[in-house]
């Protein structure tokens, strides 16, 4: 990819460089999900929106195999990080899910 060097940061959330990704591919991690789980790519605040497409391209270049769009990590809510306090505030105390002790 134009302008990329080995030390280019690919995953900003976890500080993962292109070199880190290439190394892990050559160790035998050739599934996008395996790379994600090994390096925590896509598990930070961006949830993969910044990095996954880049990782996909690096993987395709290194393995000379096309990665199907369907095998990309699943997008799940929330779209942006949300505080536990905000999530908790919607729930009333003593709701039907809370057991009385």
């Amino acid at each position: 990819m134009i302008g990329m060097t080995k030390t280019t940061i690919v995953c900003r959330c976890e500080d993962i460089t292109e070199e880190d990704i290439i190394a892990i591919i050559h160790e035998g991690y050739t599934d996008l999900e395996e790379i994600r789980r090994r390096l925590r790519i896509g598990m930070g605040p961006c949830q993969g929106r910044v990095c996954i497409q880049l990782v996909k391209k690096i993987l395709e270049r290194e393995t000379k195999k096309e990665v199907q769009e369907t095998s990309l990590p699943t997008n799940r809510p929330p779209l942006i990080p949300i505080s536990l306090g905000a999530l908790a505030s919607k729930k009333k105390q003593g709701g039907r899910h809370e057991k009385k002790s």
């Binding site: 930070g44 908790a88 899910h97």
Partner: protein, 382 residues
């Protein structure tokens, strides 16, 4: 694809990979088949806690041996699995729970586990961010050698070590059919080719029931849908895993700093839906911030779904089948497969290689479900 193996393992989670390593190390010709990628099932979505505080003897014994093995895995597998022993703090809310705890601790101590019963005032000494009143706690139990490890790194470490010993791991390879030709002769048809083996080990987690059907074995296992969530990374706040059987909640802070936890889903759905629910998030956030109000400021980043492979007594089904020689059970972990894997894989490998039967394998055989006096594991969470 290879045509012949001594042993075919079906399922590339923690137990499948650990078995591949142990068997290949004993010079067996091992092939592992995984329909997706390694750790794609329950292993990759689990909370990765490692606990020895159980109510049944078998689970205490298996987990105590496993903890000893986890302590040596970094060296044995030449890879950092991020195993940390911050202990498990089990919160008690009712007198009934305190009584059960006293019974459990007596049994655990009789098996030489270092475990103690704590007063309410001791709880914050272990996990300072907990709000004793908010939790409605009346006491707790604590075992300092419990802990957690990184489930991906542990699975991959076993897998890579297995390959070094000569095991072949085929991912994205689906088993379509298993034909038992005679005792200890199996033909396994996959979407990548056919292979024959003397042994078949079923480590397919929630898909074990489908695998067993190929050799006409009906398993009593049921999939239970579970959800978990992770927060952003934080500075180290606490080391212990906090759990409550009463509220069903569990949470801990991982090596990288994120808090990972789960709780039973209020709107329980059956089947294999993998999209997580908003109801879970609200319930989890509400309960977690009731336990630790400080976390209200913390951002939740992601949540996901996984499946427990649950048996009628919440204990795994292990060992060679009584009626189908060469077909080996290693499933039904009911949410505890990760923490038991080191010892379980050793016992099963010993059974296959040396013909050794251990009393634990006998007590956890499939045929125990014929006995009307089934012993139920009480300490189940999530």
């Amino acid at each position: 694809m290879k045509r012949k193996a001594d042993i075919v393992i079906i399922g590339g989670g923690i137990n499948g990979c650990a078995l591949a390593y142990r068997l290949a190390k004993q010079k067996k010709n091992v092939v592992l088949l995984e329909k997706n990628y390694l750790s794609s099932g329950a292993t990759g979505s689990c909370g990765a806690g490692i606990r020895q505080q159980w109510s049944t003897k078998e689970n205490i014994e298996l987990s105590m041996h496993s903890v000893k093995m986890f302590e040596g895995l970094n060296t044995e597998l030449d890879s950092d699995i991020e195993f940390r022993q911050g202990g498990y703090l089990i919160i008690n809310h009712t007198e009934k729970e305190m009584k059960q705890s006293e019974q459990n601790v007596a049994l655990q101590r009789s098996l030489n586990l270092d475990v103690e019963i704590l007063n309410v005032s001791d709880i914050q000494k272990i996990v300072p961010i907990l709000d004793v009143k908010g939790m409605h706690a009346i006491g707790a139990t604590f075992c300092p050698t419990d802990g957690h490890a990184n489930p991906f790194k542990t699975t991959f470490a076993f897998a890579r070590a297995a390959e070094k010993q000569g095991a072949l791991l085929y991912t994205h390879t689906k088993v379509n059919q298993i034909n038992k030709k005679k005792d200890y002769v199996y033909e396994i048809q996959t979407d990548k080719g056919i292979l024959t083996s003397s042994w078949v080990i079923n480590t397919a987690g929630v898909w074990s029931k489908d695998i067993a059907k190929h050799v006409s074995i009906n398993l009593p296992n049921t999939p239970f849908r579970k959800e978990a969530m992770a927060t952003e990374r934080l500075q180290p706040l606490f080391e212990a895993m906090v759990i409550s059987f009463h509220d069903g909640i569990y949470f801990s802070q991982q090596a990288e700093g994120q808090i990972v936890g789960g709780i039973p889903i209020p709107e329980e759905r059956s089947g294999f839906h993998t999209m997580p629910t908003y109801a879970f998030l609200q319930h989890m956030a509400y309960t977690l911030t009731r336990y630790a109000p400080l976390l209200k400021q913390v951002n939740m980043l992601r949540h996901w779904t996984g499946f427990y492979d649950v048996t009628p007594d919440a204990r795994p089904i292990l060992g060679e089948d009584e009626n189908v020689p060469g077909f080996v059970h290693c499933h039904g972990f009911s949410g505890h497969g990760f923490m038991l894997a080191p010892m379980v894989s050793k016992l099963i490998a010993d059974q296959i290689v040396h013909g050794k039967t251990s009393s634990v394998l006998q007590r956890l055989s499939l045929k125990r479900f014929d006995d009307p006096d089934l012993i139920q594991e009480q300490n189940v969470v999530g």
